[in-house]
């Protein structure tokens, strides 16, 4: 397309202006958008521009800390000098600047914060999709509408509640918060998947005398795998990368704070310690990037469905 834009005589008149040399067949014109070297060039430039910021910090994370603040990272192409010291330092548990406890916290926070809403939402979505009870439709619309509530609206009252219940500063505060914030999307997404399952299957099982609990475990769960993966990845990235919930509910120090909070604090207190920031940032990125690359397909589906959350 870009190529067409750069040659306006062709772009405006398209194939109708056949007197313009060189004369091409219609098929060739249609194909041009892609095969044109201009289009490829623009795509490559965009790809390079999008990669450079990350690549720069990645290169920096392998440079000796003294060099980082003296010369730009691009000088490694003429003066290569690499080290693993920055990573050793951020992972060394004897250092106060160690990232490791926060890495553990991130894992401890994320696993239940993904499992809990999935389990709860499966049950609720099943009820909304395949059982009958009074006020079902009104409730479902209400749950759907809750997706738009910005979590800012809930933070202070929730914090007050956690303090009263002595949950503040524990992992429970963070687990419960992420579960509650994730539920509306999870219920909505799983409900849509469940509705696609043919009703005759459920009816047949009901006629055979199966209760809803049996149907749920024997029929629904096995069929739901793609939907569970879609929401699971979405929620995983959401929780792993979250800063707002962590800042609000995590306890002081290394007690419950995840890596995002540690990196955030480090940017504030030691904004020029690039040897720590760069290595730390990449330690925090590696897991989501692996998950993302291996399960990309499901992630896209989750993204599309979860576009209004937050």
């Amino acid at each position: 397309m870009m190529a067409e834009l750069t040659t306006p005589d062709v772009a405006i008149d398209g194939a109708t202006v056949s007197e313009k040399p060189p004369v091409r067949t219609r098929g060739e014109i249609a194909k041009r958008g892609l095969s044109s070297p201009w289009a490829s060039l623009v795509a490559v430039i965009l790809a390079v521009v999008w990669t450079i910021p990350t690549a720069g910090l990645l290169v920096t994370s392998f440079r000796p800390s003294l060099d980082i603040n003296k010369t730009g990272w691009w000088t490694v192409f003429t003066n290569p000098d690499f080290t693993l010291d920055n990573y050793k330092q951020v992972l060394d548990t004897s250092q106060t600047s160690s990232l490791t406890p926060y890495l553990i916290n991130s894992i401890v926070i994320t696993i239940p914060a993904v499992l809990l809403p999935i389990l709860l939402a499966c049950l609720a979505a099943y009820a909304f999709a395949w059982t009958k009870f009074k006020g079902k439709n009104v409730l479902f619309v209400a749950v759907f509408a809750l997706q738009v509530v910005p979590i800012q609206v809930t933070l202070l009252p929730l914090l007050t509640l956690y303090v009263k219940l002595h949950l503040n500063g524990t992992f429970w505060a963070i687990w419960l918060s992420h579960t509650m914030f994730g539920l509306p999307l999870a219920i909505f997404l799983l409900h849509n998947f469940m509705r696609e399952i043919p009703g005759e299957l459920i009816e047949a099982a009901r006629v055979d005398g199966a209760g809803h609990v049996t149907i749920f475990f024997r029929m629904m769960l096995p069929m739901l795998k793609p939907a569970l993966a879609a929401f699971g990845i979405y929620q995983f990235l959401w929780v792993w990368n979250d800063l707002l919930v962590a800042l609000t509910f995590a306890g002081p120090g290394t007690a419950t704070a995840p890596m995002t909070k540690f990196l955030f604090d480090l940017t504030g207190s030691r904004g020029n310690a690039w040897y720590l920031l760069s290595a730390g940032a990449f330690v925090s990125m590696i897991i989501p990037v692996i998950v993302f690359l291996s399960l990309q397909r499901y992630f896209v589906r989750g993204l599309l469905a979860g576009s209004v959350k937050g």
Binding site: G14, A124, F128, G211, F264
Partner: protein
């Protein structure tokens, strides 16, 4: 380091939670066996209780607090809202939020759409897409660190002719290479807000690209072929065939990015802390509520955020409905 107890806590939490759910389902099964006809309540019950505690009650409480003073004590009417729309600091906050919400969606969507079209059915399409999409997978804090390093500024005045100051931020180095003077990107308003917006564009372009690419691929081949036989090519093909077909997806992408920008917090908090006139609603909410201890104003800001999100979502849902022909 206390790794083991934490992991044990986690396992316990999952087990306790599983047990609670098992008991509820067991009761539901028992209830069904005795001829109960409304087993659905047992299934939705736990979720509804959590949603009521975690979303509905806090939202109403915040609405209530937004009409009260800083300590959440006496009733002050609409004073908090008045100060949001009259106080000069708050007006900067509103201005920046508007800038974020207007600029980011269109630029990110345009770039994402352009890229989706350029790499469509090209060699190495999957890799090319992953490169643009990868920023979506990392945290906004990580992205902020990456870009803070890009924008890094070293004052050249601190050097001597023998040992001039070397820039370590790539953008300033490029400026120096081109013969310009290094610039402190995050300091000067209002341009610094645009430099923060760049980070969001960098992240969201991948989202736009992925969704739009999927929808371009879903255009029926016979429509494209028919247009092609009629001699439609290049830009006309985009204007009369491609764009009308993906219009609903474009609306979803634009509104989704707009909502993300209304709520932007991590980037501003990490890169400038909201200083140098870069503050936005979500960050001002956090500062007022948790640092300045002004509950009333914080609550009002959260409510304003909520109210601003609603029309965008209503528009989004309407467009979806219209395109589904309902």
């Amino acid at each position: 380091m206390d790794v083991a107890p934490k992991l044990l806590d986690m396992v316990w939490a999952i087990l306790i939670f599983g047990a609670v759910i098992a008991v509820i389902l067991g009761l539901a099964a028992l209830y069904e066996k005795r001829g109960g006809r409304r087993a659905g309540w047992w299934f939705v019950g736990p979720s509804l209780v959590l949603l009521a505690i975690g979303l509905v009650y806090p939202a109403l409480k915040t609405l209530w607090n937004s009409f009260r003073d800083a300590a959440g004590g006496s009733f002050v009417g609409i004073d908090n809202y008045t100060s949001i729309f009259t106080n000069s600091d708050e007006l900067v906050v509103l201005r920046n939020t508007v800038l974020w919400t207007l600029v980011t969606p269109f630029v990110a969507t345009a770039i994402g759409l352009l890229y989706a079209i350029l790499v469509d059915r090209a060699k190495g399409e999957a890799v090319a897409k992953a490169v643009i999409f990868l920023p979506m997978a990392i945290s906004l804090v990580g992205a902020s660190i990456i870009w803070k390093f890009m924008y890094d500024f070293r004052d050249p005045a601190g050097g001597t002719t023998k040992h001039p100051i070397q820039q370590i931020g790539l953008i300033n180095q490029v400026i120096v290479w081109l013969g310009g003077k290094p610039y402190n990107f995050l300091l000067n308003s209002p341009w610094n807000t645009f430099f923060l917006i760049v980070v969001m564009i960098w992240i969201q372009a991948g989202f736009a690209m992925t969704i739009l690419s999927a929808s371009i691929k879903a255009i029926p081949a016979d429509i494209v072929e028919a247009a092609r036989l009629d001699g439609v090519g290049g830009f006309q093909m985009f204007r009369f065939v491609t764009f009308p077909s993906i219009r609903p997806a474009v609306v979803v992408v634009l509104t989704t990015i707009a909502i993300a920008c209304l709520k932007v917090f991590d980037i501003v908090r990490t890169m400038t802390g909201g200083n140098f006139d870069t503050n936005v609603i979500a960050n001002e909410f956090y500062s007022q509520t948790f640092s300045a201890a002004n509950q009333g104003l914080g609550a009002a800001l959260a409510v304003v955020l909520f109210v601003l999100v609603i029309p965008i979502i209503v528009y989004n849902v309407r467009q979806l409905r219209a395109s589904e022909g309902r």
